[in-house]
């Protein structure tokens, strides 16, 4: 869920016009400036992939590009860090992929 309220601790922002993205084949909206991780979290998706050997679910851990857990496939390129990638209009995102496959 996106945070819509604003107060002295969370100063007001104005999200721009939304862009269209697709997540696992489903159409969705996101806002310029958001990362793919944010867009997925806003949709309630927390499981971004399953691990290669044990098939365990993984999602965002460090949020800053260090841990490589938030890997998704973006526009056909695998193993992309969702937290380091900003959404773009027409972006196609696939989750649930095994990393490095």
């Amino acid at each position: 869920m996106r945070i819509m309220k604003a107060d002295r601790a969370l100063p007001e922002i104005r999200r721009g016009a939304p862009v269209r993205i697709s997540v696992d084949g489903n159409s969705a909206e996101a806002y310029p400036g958001e990362t793919v991780a944010t867009a997925l979290m806003a949709m309630g998706i927390r499981q971004f992939r399953k691990t290669r050997d044990k098939g365990e679910p993984r999602g965002v851990y460090c949020g800053m590009g260090v841990c490589y857990e938030c890997l998704v496939t973006v526009d056909g390129v695998e193993n992309v860090r969702a937290c380091q990638t900003c959404v773009r209009d027409g972006m196609e995102i696939l989750t649930g992929q095994v990393a490095e496959q």
């Binding site: 107060d7 679910p57 993984r58």
Partner: protein, 474 residues
């Protein structure tokens, strides 16, 4: 090839102040940063597309500094990674291999300031890999920068004042904070540091503000407690918490279960020193400082001439210390470039020495009170994943220790820990702690277990990026 007098890697507090100082000294400077905008974590700027105005003091400060930086003649390469650094020929400095859109593939810099900051210390415990377990840093980024709720009901576990900042932000965002757990017992120890706090008014006020927010929201704050397990089917559904002893071992029999969908693990931060290590700067072991500290002189110069390390990457010290260190490093680079003589720089150096001392005292206070103890590794059980990338458990590691592994590197080559995507950033310290836990009784100390050898590329990169980097020669 593009040649500059100074390249600064990292655009957080240390990097920004180094850049501003270098600009003042007239140094031809380039700044390389992997984020979309300067600011690092501490001064992380709202995305430009979010059209917002900073309100809180730190944010205003950050916005002002970034604006100032962007108005100088320092060339900034954002969204750019330095993946390899090599000595240039004839002692002319360093060749940096860059990966980013619209930036040169290589630049040559006479001096280098590494200001690569820090990242949340990964602390393994059962269930920590479940979606819904995140670092405190990830929580702050979600809420403050990305304006998305990371969950509905959260529990914070870890140590240090950053947790209070996160709790406060979460409360403002509308996330229900079930409780905040502080693993250490900072009192009465903290009282002996009261004199150090006298100069830290802004921080005291910050802390008071967070405290009030938590009080108003009636969020319990427990000292000497931690999450010992995250449970759930495919994501976090509940947390098991327990009391901790002074060495951070959980006390059996004190467990409680709390229903939450998000757990924030905030066990302070550790230096992001991979770039300095990759270049071959000399480091020495220091558990309290997050594993390694660089050997540096009073001008922030490392064991490599013309290579300076400033800010949290050299040891956790906070933004104010980073500011001073960045400036000192830049002046040193200016002296090296012949802009001033060492004599000219002496008054500056004297002033900075006092500031460095003060800020280091405060940094030491925080690390005395809030650094995770070696014993924190006892949270992990045989089934706990230690190397997240390669899915290696504590049991796997214990097995190779019984088969003769004695160093971090032995464990790496026998289990593949550290050979995955994160290149060991997130398991190295845990492995060191495990070795000490298992072999400490026979005399093995933290200083002896070694570290991973950091090699280029600094992040995994496609073959074509490496191949194409050769097009520009000397």
């Amino acid at each position: 090839m593009k040649k500059v007098e100074l390249a600064i890697v990292g655009a957080g507090p240390a990097g920004i102040h180094a850049a501003l100082q270098a600009n003042e000294a007239g140094l031809n400077t380039v700044m390389v940063d992997s984020n979309p905008r300067p600011g690092g974590q501490y001064y992380k700027q709202l995305p430009l597309d979010f059209g917002g105005k900073p309100q809180k003091v730190v944010e205003q400060e950050g916005s002002f500094l970034v604006g100032l930086l962007e108005s100088t003649s320092v060339e900034i390469f954002s969204n750019t990674l330095v993946w390899g650094v090599f000595p240039a020929s004839r002692g002319e400095g360093w060749l940096l291999n860059l990966h980013g859109e619209g930036v040169p593939k290589q630049i040559q810099a006479h001096s280098l300031i590494l200001a690569t900051g820090a990242y949340d210390t990964p602390i393994p415990f059962p269930g920590w890999t479940l979606p819904g377990v995140m670092t405190a840093g990830a929580g702050l980024i979600s809420v403050k920068n990305q304006r998305v709720m990371p969950g509905k009901r959260a529990l914070l576990t870890g140590t240090g004042p950053l947790q209070l900042a996160l709790a406060s932000s979460l409360i403002h965002a509308g996330v229900e904070v079930a409780m905040v757990l502080e693993a250490s017992q900072p009192f009465p120890k903290a009282f002996q540091y009261a004199p150090v706090m006298i100069n830290q008014w802004s921080r005291i006020l910050e802390g008071v503000d967070y405290g009030f927010t938590m009080l108003r929201a009636r969020v319990p704050y427990r000292l000497g407690w931690a999450v010992i397990e995250a449970r759930g089917d495919g994501q976090v559904e509940e947390a098991v918490i327990a009391r901790m002893d002074n060495e951070w071992h959980p006390l059996r029999g004190t467990e409680q279960v709390v229903q939450v969908d998000t757990i924030f693990s905030g066990y302070t931060v550790k230096p992001n020193n991979f770039l300095g290590r990759m270049m071959g700067c000399e480091f020495r072991p220091d558990h309290q400082q997050g594993g390694l500290v660089p050997v540096r002189d009073e001008w922030m110069q490392t064991s490599l001439p013309g290579v300076y390390l400033a800010g949290d990457a050299a040891g956790i010290g906070g933004a104010e210390l980073a500011r001073v260190e960045g400036k000192v490093a830049a002046v040193a680079a200016a002296v090296r470039a012949g802009r001033f003589s060492e004599k000219d720089a002496k008054p500056f150096s004297r002033r900075m020495r006092g500031q460095l001392r003060r800020q280091r005292r405060f940094a030491n206070l925080l690390s005395e009170l809030f650094t995770p103890q070696l014993g924190v590794i006892s949270l992990a059980t045989d089934n706990t994943i230690i190397c997240r990338c390669e899915e290696v458990t504590l049991g796997d590691i214990r097995k190779v220790i019984t088969e003769g592994a004695r160093t971090v590197n032995d464990i790496k080559v026998l289990t593949r820990c550290g050979m995955g995507n994160c290149q060991g950033r997130n398991c190295e310290l845990s492995i060191a702690r495990i070795l000490v836990q298992e072999l400490g009784a026979s005399g093995l100390t933290f200083d002896e277990v070694g570290v991973f050898r950091v090699r280029p590329p600094l992040h995994p990169l496609p073959v074509s990026v490496l191949a194409d980097s050769l097009e520009v020669e000397g």
